[in-house]
Symmetry: C2
Subunit: 352 residues, 2 copies
């Protein structure tokens, strides 16, 4: 049995226990019932997945998955392709946004080369797991072969499995790949059945002409490659990306180890959609960290049935929204593990 098949087989159904023991514990806390709103929801999700109201969060990891995209040749991004490599180096130097945000919330950053079109020296913090040197240009050819699509999923599984021995309580996903909103829009259009124009946005900063061109390129990619919406691995292969496959693999692997996953923005959500189409039980392990400014993210989240934690008009990727959401999930978990009950605190309960 392949690594992918093993992981999928190990994923257990988790039911989010909104009315059982976790709710009982929340109701005993010295606060008006329900007054911590969505933080109580995050606590409930975490405790349900871990199967305990005492589970704390110690080890937080954000995986920033990097890959290049042949479709960059079509001029669908405001930035040149070499920026993918340059940004990977910036992540490793600690001056990138994800480096700063991860330090702020106390998360470790693992950068993964899923298929950047450049060679890296092996360094601390970087996993070199190349599936290829950039994908094919989806405006003309498939992004990758079916074998490469499976390999990209397994990259996500391998890097997550590698971290287990260091301790891993909660995961955040992130991405880096110049032009990767283009394959993400193609995936979201294909898996939700929505019009390409509704799920395509400005990415890193296209103008009106740029966005029209991007929409026509995505339509062409779907026409030429004909991804089968009922076969998520086919969708990944035909119009996806190596880092998007890696993110989907992370979701599958995390679910198989009962680890909650904070999903970042549009690209990560495209990866999460693929994971949920491969195995719908993954869905309950996922938390949407933020709603991105990118068009179509809300459509992708609706398909997943998720309401994002944060709405801060972020549109950077890297895992930046995911780690900020992770910090708020951690606050929710601390409600269960650190707060006093009415009786412990000697506080009177409501009159009625």
């Amino acid at each position: 049995m392949s690594l992918l098949d093993q992981i999928i087989e190990n994923i257990e159904e988790v039911s989010i226990d909104s009315n059982g023991g976790i709710r009982d514990r929340l109701n005993k806390l010295a606060i008006p019932s329900g007054s911590l709103g969505r933080l109580e929801e995050f606590a409930t999700i975490y405790a349900s997945i871990k199967g305990s109201t005492d589970a704390t969060i110690r080890h937080k990891v954000v995986f920033t998955m990097a890959g290049d995209h042949g479709v960059c040749d079509e001029g669908v991004s405001a930035f040149p392709q070499k920026v993918t490599r340059q940004m990977v180096e910036n992540f490793l130097d600690g001056g990138a946004t994800i480096s700063v945000f991860a330090r702020h919330v106390g998360a470790k950053v693992v950068v993964v080369d899923c298929g950047v079109k450049a060679e890296f020296e092996p360094v601390e913090g970087l996993k070199i797991k190349k599936v290829g040197y950039g994908t094919g240009n989806i405006a003309c050819v498939p992004a990758m072969s079916r074998e490469q699509a499976i390999k990209s999923l397994e990259v996500g599984i391998e890097v997550l499995n590698d971290e287990l021995c260091n301790g891993l309580d909660i995961v955040a996903t992130g991405d880096m790949g110049i032009a990767n909103t283009t394959p993400s829009s193609a995936i979201v259009a294909c898996l939700t059945g929505q019009d390409v124009s509704k799920v395509t946005g400005r990415g890193t900063g296209l103008n009106d002409n740029g966005i029209e061109k991007k929409i026509s390129i995505i339509k062409k990619a779907l026409d030429i490659n004909k991804p089968d919406p009922l076969d998520p691995i086919d969708v990944l292969a035909k119009v996806g990306g190596f880092e998007i496959g890696g993110i989907a693999g992370l979701c599958l692997a995390a679910a198989s180890h009962r680890i909650p996953v904070l999903i970042d923005g549009f690209i990560s959500t495209a990866g999460a959609l693929i994971a949920c189409e491969i195995e719908p039980k993954v869905n309950n392990y996922l938390i949407s960290a933020h709603i991105s400014a990118e068009n179509g993210h809300c459509i992708a989240l609706e398909k997943l049935g998720k309401k994002a934690i944060l709405d801060l008009d972020l549109r950077l990727g890297e895992g930046t929204g995911a780690v900020l959401g992770m910090g708020l999930v951690e606050v929710g978990v601390k409600i269960l593990t650190q707060m006093s009950t009415f009786s412990e605190a000697g506080v009177s309960t409501p009159n009625h």
Copy 2:
């Protein structure tokens, strides 16, 4: 000149520099322009107030202002009045929500007895600054005299001034006071001109009958006391609360020392409204941390012209939403102080 008058006189106009040197610095960072959305806005506000793009946040303090309310006798809260005292003790024991959340974001908690109907032993972390033993029942009499209203504002000023010697870069406001959504709704109705029914909510958990009764009590309080909407100190005296005056005083004092203030939920926003009516220059020093589940909070924020950072259905008070928002403002500030520029990181700029 009174302490209050001195503080008001010292408040300088601050202009939020969205297009000058701060924007220049943000544009040099190795990210697509504007891709950090509202975090860039928070960075801009902080740096504008501090007058520097290098200003860091080291000392964070949340002031949880406590007071009792005579109107509690009318049955407007689901909890008995003694819970105010009990919760103050819970804050000091470290098991309350604000204790947990403040530890999470690295903020110090200063609890202030502005007028609880109980005696406290002097202990570390509690400032005893009683203006009275609970306010008058506003359904029958004014909450307090004009002298007490001024004194309650000065309590906020004094406790903030006391903290300056320990270092104080950013402030969060918080409240504790059984029944204090009632005076807050009265203040918001009076200062915004809105219908009482539109600015009155369930507080800690009233049912439909409870809320109808609460609305009629607030209408009666406004009819009997006739607060003058053009005289914010009169509004505070007639239908306010000691801790609400304390919060307004905190806002005035923070502005006078060029310290940004994170405003918590409905009660804190009522206090902020009073501060801004006393001195409109205060407004630019204020950041709304979260939108509460309490009816009428959005109306109060609209009057201040603020969009909240977080929307998590919180309705607890204590400063819980404010410290979570403070954590996100800190992330915004770190964009300016810790991130690499395009040239530092060796990252290429956009093609266009």
